[in-house]
Amino acid sequence: MSKSSREVLSFQGGIHPSGDGKQLSSGNPIQIAPLLDRYRVMISQNVGKPPKPVVKPGDTVKKYQLLAEADGFVSANLHSPTSGKIIGIVDVPGPMGTLVPAIEIEADGLDEAAETWPPIAWRDADPADLLKRVGDAGLVGMGGAAFPTRVKFSPPPEKKIDTLILNGAECEPYLTADHRLMLEHPEKVLEGAAISGRMLGVSNIYIGVEVNKEDAIQALGRRASEYGVKIATLKVQYPQGSEKQLIMAITGRAVPAGGLPMDAGCVVQNVGTAAAVTDAVVSGIPLVERVTTVTGEVVKNPGNWMLKIGTPVIKAIEFAGGVTAEPGKLILGGPMMGFAQKSFDVPVSKNTSGILLLPVSEALTYGSVGCIRCGRCLEACPMNLMPCLLGNAVEGEKFDIAAQNHVMDCIECGSCAYVCPAHRPLVQHMRRAKAEIRKRKK
């Protein structure tokens, strides 16, 4: 596949963030984080019901041992990241700014693993066995949503799924965790894709990668055909990695308003989750660590680390050599859709794709003025909404008008707020509208 003849796919709308900051960490190989003496594993790391703890204070646990058991269908198991003693359930600052319960483990420094599950020969295995393994291993979407993978791979029978898309777009500025993973472990990602395809009964499998990750495309391309996976090269455009935009770019199908990817016959999965699927099925180990980008202009040695869940963010920053200047803002995830944090004690969870420290100058904020009706947000919105009108509706507290104009379809990608010359906090308005509309429906 020569570079010139290659088709580069994309969707309509979106933006091109300038200076994407990926060069800070994209060249550094994934490093294994040193063992800490204490981990605080948040109990609720998945969308849906939090799992039920099955350990008591004083118990000794081994690495990979079950800490909390899935409570219901939309829930996920939780396993110990290391061996040690359970101290108890403590309150830790969560990524959403509230205190959340976490299981505190005092590590014994041995990192002794419990017995792992037997590997499954997935090429001939029953999809139900594979699904059960994925559920047992506590897999959730590692791109950010943290939706339990077992549930995602059990679509209702009336939904016909014909395409599996692996999301390696990594369109968020600064983040390089998926890039490094694809580059260093392409076979793990590809095998995970093939296993996921078997679970869904789908043979049409794509990996979508943005063209700025040329080395990853080549690494994957060398072995893709072995696993029956096609590589789709995508234009560098934000939000290319949003599932609805990815489906549009690769298959040309639109997900109906208010619908899920399965309504367009697709399932979208992050490449990190695919690698975790391989670990669970082939190596028999549950999800207890992940690749996370620790980066930012003020971080001394930006890079990617294999972090155990429950690692406090402050420790992760210490692994990266600490800071060179006073940070202005701490963000979990990418700068566009990540969440600003109040505390450095937030633990890393299954969906922490990045730890970003912005310098004071980057975290600069502007006062916003009224809408000047330039229409740039209309061009930028990848969902073809009218952010300017929605913003005005929220400012006037006319939530019914916002609902009529499909505010619920907003994916909160932040493209509108990024391009707005009046610096209007549009995403915050959308979020408020969604919260108010949900409250009214109750």
Partner: protein
């Protein structure tokens, strides 16, 4: 051709609200919501058509007639009679609406009985009389004037619904910016002048 001229003239060129400046009160009063504006428009179209028909009948055959070769001229009763008839019609509409659509009745509120004193309806009847229209012409004129009123009201209420989402300076919020908008709308309608 004559009827086309009459129609276009009544709807666009000599629009009751935006060129003759009649019926401004409900134009400002019930234009906040498109739905109530639609109800009001329907009521005005109905009253104007029926009122034009009846008043032109009264004007042509009852206000001036011959008895024993002498002409009896009751022209001085014109305004009095017209208002009586319009008031009666509005009363009918009110009774009907109260039963058929209580929500609309509530939303229109005081503006419904005020159609009685709405100069647009009386204006239509008077213009009919002054131009000596036949009964058919008068009815068409009344209906088209109603359509013209409805057009202006619907345009304006849609604009006002959008205006609610804008944030004008505090001094302009509410009625002032609505009046400015109405003025600009009227200027736009000047563009139709000379069409017929």
């Amino acid at each position: 051709m004559k009827y086309l001229e009459l129609t276009v003239g009544a709807v666009l060129v000599y629009n009751f609200v935006l060129s003759r400046f009649l019926g401004i009160c409900p134009f400002l009063g019930v234009s906040k919501r498109l739905s109530t504006a639609m109800g009001m428009s329907g009521a005005v179209i109905f009253v104007m058509t029926i009122a034009s028909f009846i008043t032109s009948l009264v004007y042509r055959y009852l206000l001036r007639f011959d008895i024993d070769g002498r002409t009896v001229d009751l022209g001085f009763l014109q305004v009095l009679l017209f208002i009586l008839i319009i008031a009666g019609l509005v009363q009918l509409i009110e009774i009907m609406l109260q039963k058929l659509s209580p929500m609309l009745y509530q939303a229109l509120g005081i503006y419904l009985p005020l159609i009685t004193t709405n100069c647009a309806v009386l204006g239509a009847a008077t213009i009919n009389a002054n131009n000596n229209y036949t009964v058919l012409e008068a009815t068409i004129f009344g209906f088209c004037s109603g359509i013209g009123f409805a057009l202006a009201l619907l345009l304006f209420s849609s604009l006002r619904e959008r205006l609610e989402l804008a944030a004008p300076p505090q001094a302009f919020q509410g009625t002032p910016i609505a009046l400015v908008t109405a003025g600009i709308l009227a200027m736009a309608f000047v563009g139709f002048s000379g069409l017929c």
